[in-house]
């Protein structure tokens, strides 16, 4: 097969990883109007929880049971973080929030290593690693794309068609106005955090069978996830997924044909800055226009 096509296919494969995480980035951005720099680490920690639930040394639960228990635990954990850590500083400037994100980043990273040690863990997939189409896509990757698309549909429908999704966006963007129409902003924020943590946990569980589970699995991945979300548009779940795939492909093209594999992270960096400057709304996002 032609190298170009192969790299594109491989880019789609890693793009699926980024798309998953980009979706989680959009979820939290919609819910709290912020990036969560600790999102990757939270997803990684959730994945460890799932691993513990499944592993023989842990509880030894079957995959799907562990999968859903992990989602629920992550949801509760995310909501609890909002209530315990962020609610008391809800009026503080953005600066304080970023600091707390970095604090969470550091804490989850450290805790994961402390509790589960640093040796790579194998994470099972219910789909199997066998080839679905020889040399193109494995069952796991197909399953991963499938689950990502299901999540995309759910998130899209949630924000688009449910009053609570609409209320969540409203609460994030304009908390005071939201309160005035009777929205419980604190509840929405907690809910948003919970959902974002849940989406992140699914991303983690889909990614880990490919990358193996280690405390540092998400640092670089999150950067690409951010890039995907920025490229696609921070307010659009569909955009984030498309953006994730695009970043995957672009990364491979650039790495193979232009800058070489040594500068792949830099590609993500440049991409983020350029898109933010040139087309801040991304491909499918909405520009925030305000008239006075």
């Amino acid at each position: 097969m032609d190298l170009f096509i192969e790299q594109t296919v491989s880019g789609l494969a890693s793009g699926a990883i980024y798309a998953c995480l980009a979706l989680a980035v959009v979820m939290i951005y919609q819910a709290i109007d912020h990036f969560n720099f600790a999102q990757g680490e939270m997803a990684m920690f959730s994945t460890y929880i799932a691993w513990y639930l499944m592993d023989d040394a842990g509880l030894g639960l079957p995959f799907w049971v562990a999968f859903f228990v992990c989602i629920i635990v992550s949801f509760i954990g995310g909501a609890a973080i909002e209530r315990i850590v962020f609610a008391p500083i809800s009026d503080a400037p953005v600066l304080s929030h970023i600091i707390v994100f970095i604090a969470l980043f550091s804490m989850f990273n450290s805790l994961a290593g402390f509790m589960f040690d640093f040796t790579p863990k194998q994470f099972t997939t219910p789909f199997g690693h066998e080839a679905l189409i020889e040399g193109v896509i494995s069952w796991h990757r197909a399953g991963m794309v499938g689950v990502t698309l299901i999540m995309l549909l759910l998130i899209y429908a949630f924000f688009r068609y449910t009053p609570i999704g609409l209320a969540m966006r409203a609460a994030a963007a304009a908390p005071e106005s939201a309160r005035l129409v009777g929205i419980r902003v604190g509840f929405m924020l907690a809910l948003g955090w919970g959902l974002a943590a849940a989406v992140g946990s699914v991303a983690g569980m889909l990614i880990a069978p490919i990358t193996f589970l280690t405390p540092d699995m998400m640092l670089g991945t999150l950067l690409y996830g951010f890039a995907g979300a920025v490229v696609g548009g921070l307010t659009s779940p569909l955009g984030a997924v498309i953006g994730g795939f695009m970043v995957g492909i672009l990364e491979n093209w650039m790495g193979t044909f232009v800058v070489g594999s040594q500068l792949k992270l830099t590609v993500a960096l440049v991409l983020i800055i350029v898109v933010l400057l040139v087309k801040p709304a991304g491909l499918l996002g909405r520009v925030v226009v305000k008239r006075v």
């Binding site: 409203a170 005035l180 129409v181 009777g182 925030v288 226009v289």
Partner: protein, 236 residues
């Protein structure tokens, strides 16, 4: 008993007392104007009613004291719709979604119907129903804010400087519609305005605030005739 009864209202920003304990009433089905200079405490009064500032005293709505209740609960329970200063548009979502948000606390099945009710008063909004609300003009956003308030099917509407930043023609049209809403829907209104003429025109009663206290109160036409008021607030 009045629909809304305020007794001895004090309000605080941190340690600073902004309102010093006054009384105010709003009768069912009426429009009452609240006038005063900048910093007199007009906005603070409205914010106190819907629980957005720390307040002391009693604010009785339909016989229940709401001081200490959360904004969300006041809105949901007593159907008080606050049209805030600066309009509070949800800029990222569409016009119709803004309206939908106005009905957030309602659980009945007539929400869809009420869009038409709003569009009946503000046909412009219908044209723009799928447009991102942040791109509406100032006047349209003000209409949207009132429309959003209507979606609550409110008993009371609190309007904070609805004329702010609008062209005179649009302001006049807006006040006409407010009067119409008051008559047709039976919504009681508390209107804070700099433009005292317009407010007094549609109001039955009026209060004049000065530095956190009620300086004068009475029927709107009486206030309008008061020399002092005319000099200070009406400019003629």
């Amino acid at each position: 008993m009045a629909l809304l009864e305020i007794k001895g209202l004090k309000a605080y920003y941190g340690q600073i007392e902004a309102l010093h304990g006054f009384d105010m009433e709003l009768e069912e089905g009426e429009i009452t104007a609240v006038l005063g200079a900048n910093g007199a405490g007009k906005t603070t009064t409205l914010r106190s009613i819907c629980g957005m500032v720390k307040a002391a005293g009693t604010i009785t709505v339909e016989g229940e004291n709401v001081v200490g209740m959360s904004t969300e609960a006041i809105v949901a329970r007593h159907k008080i719709a606050h049209v805030p200063e600066g309009r509070g548009t949800f800029v990222r979502v569409s016009t119709e979604e803004n309206l939908r948000l106005g009905a957030f606390t309602r659980r009945d099945r007539e929400i869809e119907k009420d869009y038409e009710r709003v569009y009946h008063y503000f046909p412009r909004l219908k044209e723009r129903r799928n447009q991102q609300a942040g791109t509406l003009s100032g006047g349209e956003q003000q209409m949207l804010a009132v429309g959003r308030a209507l979606m609550l099917r409110p008993k009371i509407m609190l309007l904070d400087e609805p004329s702010f930043g609008l062209a005179p023609i649009i302001t006049e049209e807006l006040f006409k519609i407010l009067g119409q809403i008051n008559r047709e829907e039976g919504v009681s209104m508390l209107v804070v305005e700099q433009n005292a003429n317009l407010a007094l025109d549609i109001s039955k009663n009026a209060y004049l605030l000065e530095t956190g206290n009620v300086a004068m109160t009475g029927p709107a036409d009486k206030i309008m005739d008061d020399e002092q008021v005319r000099k200070s607030y009406l400019g003629y």
